[in-house]
């Protein structure tokens, strides 16, 4: 950002299609945290999906159309924040390349990229949040989703905030940085390989004996939660912002009453 930071920045929440459809409680937890961090939150209604299913399938035309739609939707915001490293990475790192040949939109894509952040890293790195007011009694482990980790450098920020959650014991599982096998359309195009990967992830997660498995991307979380449940393992799965916001009244992912 150039120029002075606004005291109460206008943050556009990029909800992400999975949170919108599958788990709106993550979106509300995100809003709560952003407001605690002194932001005013807006949710443009004209957003849908960042376009990764098309982009990663080689369909550049549809991906570019969705990129233009998203850029337009967030034109007026100081920041654009997403509760997903994967979608934030798409907006921040891939839109500029996707629209590079588009005279009208390439500048706008670059301009948007400067304003885009993944939620937890935004709270810590941009808003200076050091602690949260939340409690969870038990052991939790955190899976590093690939895009957040390798594209955006998200590693310490969620652990730092989790460290301030009362009564939460943060433990590390083996190979926390190895992919869970979701990969968007990969999980349905190559289900057998995807399964072998999530089997290893579920085994590593379970071996750490946590009460709760956390991550910052709902796709990975649905994959891991679905596998843990199929295997009958008693690990609860939640998006990290649910714990950070102290919003635990909804059932865990793939959890039943």
């Amino acid at each position: 950002m150039t120029g002075p930071l606004p005291s109460k920045p206008r943050v556009g929440l990029f909800v992400t299609c999975l949170v919108d459809l599958m788990r709106p409680s993550v979106g509300f937890a995100a809003v709560k945290l952003l407001e605690q961090a002194g932001c005013s939150v807006e949710v443009p209604a004209v957003q849908t999906c960042c376009g990764q299913p098309a982009y990663n399938s080689g369909d550049r035309a549809d991906a570019a159309a969705l990129a233009r739609q998203t850029i337009a939707a967030f034109a007026g915001c100081d920041y654009v924040v997403a509760p997903s490293g994967s979608c934030a990475g798409m907006l921040k790192l891939h839109y500029p390349g996707l629209l590079a040949g588009d005279a009208e939109w390439s500048g706008k894509a670059k301009e948007l990229a400067e304003r885009v952040h993944e939620l937890v890293s935004f709270l810590v790195d941009v808003r200076g949040m050091e602690t949260v007011d939340a409690e969870f009694k038990g052991r939790a482990t955190y899976h590093d989703s690939c895009s957040g980790l390798r594209e955006l450098g998200i590693k310490g920020q969620p652990r730092r905030l989790l460290g301030s959650v009362k009564n939460l014991e943060l433990i590390e599982m083996a190979d926390a940085e190895v992919c869970c096998g979701f990969g968007g359309t990969f999980s349905v195009k190559y289900p057998d390989i995807s399964n072998a990967m999530v089997e290893k992830k579920a085994a590593n997660a379970a071996a750490a004996k946590p009460d709760l498995l956390l991550a910052g991307d709902l796709g990975c979380l649905m994959n891991m939660a679905g596998k843990l449940r199929r295997e009958g393992r008693a690990v609860q799965v939640r998006h990290v912002v649910e714990v950070l916001a102290g919003e635990l009244s909804d059932l865990p992912i793939a959890g039943s009453k």
Partner: protein, 475 residues
């Protein structure tokens, strides 16, 4: 080499069901992966070196014609015979001619992926020449009639029991009651067999890790010393290398060597690094009487002017496949051609065509671990995506998938309609799944639910709830 890339999905399924292979692959995280991490940690400038290595290769590739000609001039001046092969067939012809001219009955080989790429062994054998692989892993693969499943650890798919069984089956001249329970005993036996081959060989064929333009030298790195015996004991030494192996100077070689072994096996340096410049000189204690270098293009020069030029920086360390969770799940053979793992998923479609190898660049989660560890900083996921784009343009992916994708994109570009449809779909799925919390099976989601439950949605969309909250209704 013939490709089996088109049956990738079936290959992968078979690999996942192969208990022996899964046992062999299970050692990767604690083996090569852990070794690399330790080696990297011991060298503070490792990450900076990756930039230097990338820049050396980028510079060379930008002036590849110049450096190849300089290499040829200097190699020729040192007494080498340099041959240019535009295709795999040309390279095979050249090498076969050299072998025939030398009256070769027995050819020993050091490890060479290029010789795999051009399918050399089958051609030489068809001409009545005995070919013996002398790298232990390559030897194992050869006696089993297989191909390498990894570019630096060709027999990584095998377990020790399998090797013992093969040795007992094939080395029938040795006493039956011999003990082969330790790896060192297996290595000792292979050595015993191979020693006679080294001594009897007429032609020795090796690859090259580098061709040095300023001196006309070829360089090989090995851990077993078999490459040195291959190239110095036979009367004729043939080097087969692809065009991108050239680097300008010895200084460049030493810089890249600092990255190569650390990335590959976690060693500071491989055990043997051997520079060869021309045939044996009168004052040399040993060496071949004739020294040939066959330089292969086989489609690479076509890549120079494209985004895929970056993949020509590859130094064949294997780090990308060691760290790839897909490779770790299915091993190398499932990829169906010479180069497995992420490097293969980029290189193979470039060399044999994207339509016949379309599964390779598609079968990645884009987790990015390959790019993270690549010593040459090749943006492998980006290049895989370029292949996906080319494949999509050419009508790739199944009809059902394409229709589904187009329908979804059509809807996603109409936010109002999209949100209405989303509300309805989520309300239905939420009502069906709320009580159990997840689906064990669901129409059209079989790929997902065959292996795992599908979490049920909470029942209302965020946009719907947000609109209500804005309007003042309680959540």
């Amino acid at each position: 080499m013939k490709s089996a890339t088109e049956s990738f999905k079936e290959n992968a399924r078979a690999a996942l069901d192969d208990a022996q292979l899964q046992r062999a692959l299970a050692g990767l995280p604690t083996g090569l992966v852990a070794n690399r991490a330790a080696a990297r940690a011991r060298l503070p400038e490792f990450e900076d070196l990756r930039d230097v290595g990338r820049d050396i290769k980028d510079h060379t590739l930008a002036h590849l014609d110049l450096y190849l000609e300089l290499y040829e001039r200097n190699a020729t001046a040192a007494g080498a015979r340099v041959h240019w092969a535009a295709t795999a067939a040309e390279a095979r012809e050249i090498i076969l001619r050299i072998c025939r001219d030398a009256g070769a009955k027995l050819v020993t080989k050091g490890k060479s992926m290029i010789s795999e790429e051009i399918g050399l062994n089958a051609d030489l054998q068809a001409a009545g020449i005995e070919v013996v692989e002398t790298d232990l892993g390559e030897y194992l693969v050869q006696i089993r009639g297989e191909t390498p499943s990894h570019i630096i650890a060709p027999a990584i798919h095998l377990t020790q029991d399998q090797v013992e069984a093969d040795f007992r089956r094939l080395h029938t001249e040795l006493p039956k009651e011999r003990v082969l329970s330790e790896p060192s005993q297996l290595v000792g036996e292979a050595r015993q067999i191979l020693r006679e081959k080294f001594l009897a060989a007429d032609v020795g064929i090796t690859g090259a890790n580098f061709l040095v333009a300023e001196t006309g030298s070829s360089v090989i790195v090995t851990n077993e010393g078999n490459g040195d015996l291959t190239q110095s004991l036979a009367r004729v030494h043939v080097v087969v290398a692809s065009i991108e192996k050239v680097v300008p100077t010895r200084e460049d070689v030493s810089t890249i060597l600092r990255l190569l072994a650390r990335s590959a096996t976690g060693q500071e340096l491989s055990t043997y690094t051997t520079f060869s410049t021309g045939p044996r000189r009168p004052e040399d204690p040993d060496g071949p009487a004739a020294y040939h270098v066959v330089i292969l293009d086989n489609g690479r020069s076509e890549m120079l002017g494209t985004a895929f030029r970056e993949v020509l920086r590859c130094i064949r360390c294997g780090a990308c496949m060691n760290h790839c969770p897909v490779y770790g799940a299915i091993g190398g053979h499932a990829y169906g051609w010479v180069y497995p793992g992420p490097i293969g998923s980029v290189l193979t479609p470039s060399l044999i065509g994207v339509r016949s190898a379309a599964d390779l660049p598609n079968a990645s989660t884009f987790c990015g671990r390959c790019e993270e560890v690549c010593p040459m900083k090749i943006p492998l996921p980006k290049l895989m995506r370029h292949h996906r784009e080319a494949d999509f343009e050419l009508g790739g992916s199944s009809r059902g998938y394409r229709i589904g994708l187009k329908l979804w994109a059509w809807l996603a570009r109409r936010p109002r309609l999209y949100h209405v449809a989303a509300r309805m779909a989520v309300a239905l799925l939420g009502a069906l799944g709320r009580r159990r919390g997840a689906f064990r099976s669901l129409p059209l989601a079989g790929g997902w639910t065959r292996h795992r439950d599908l979490p049920a949605p909470q029942g209302r969309t965020f946009q719907q709830l947000w609109a209500e909250r804005k309007a003042g209704a309680p959540r």
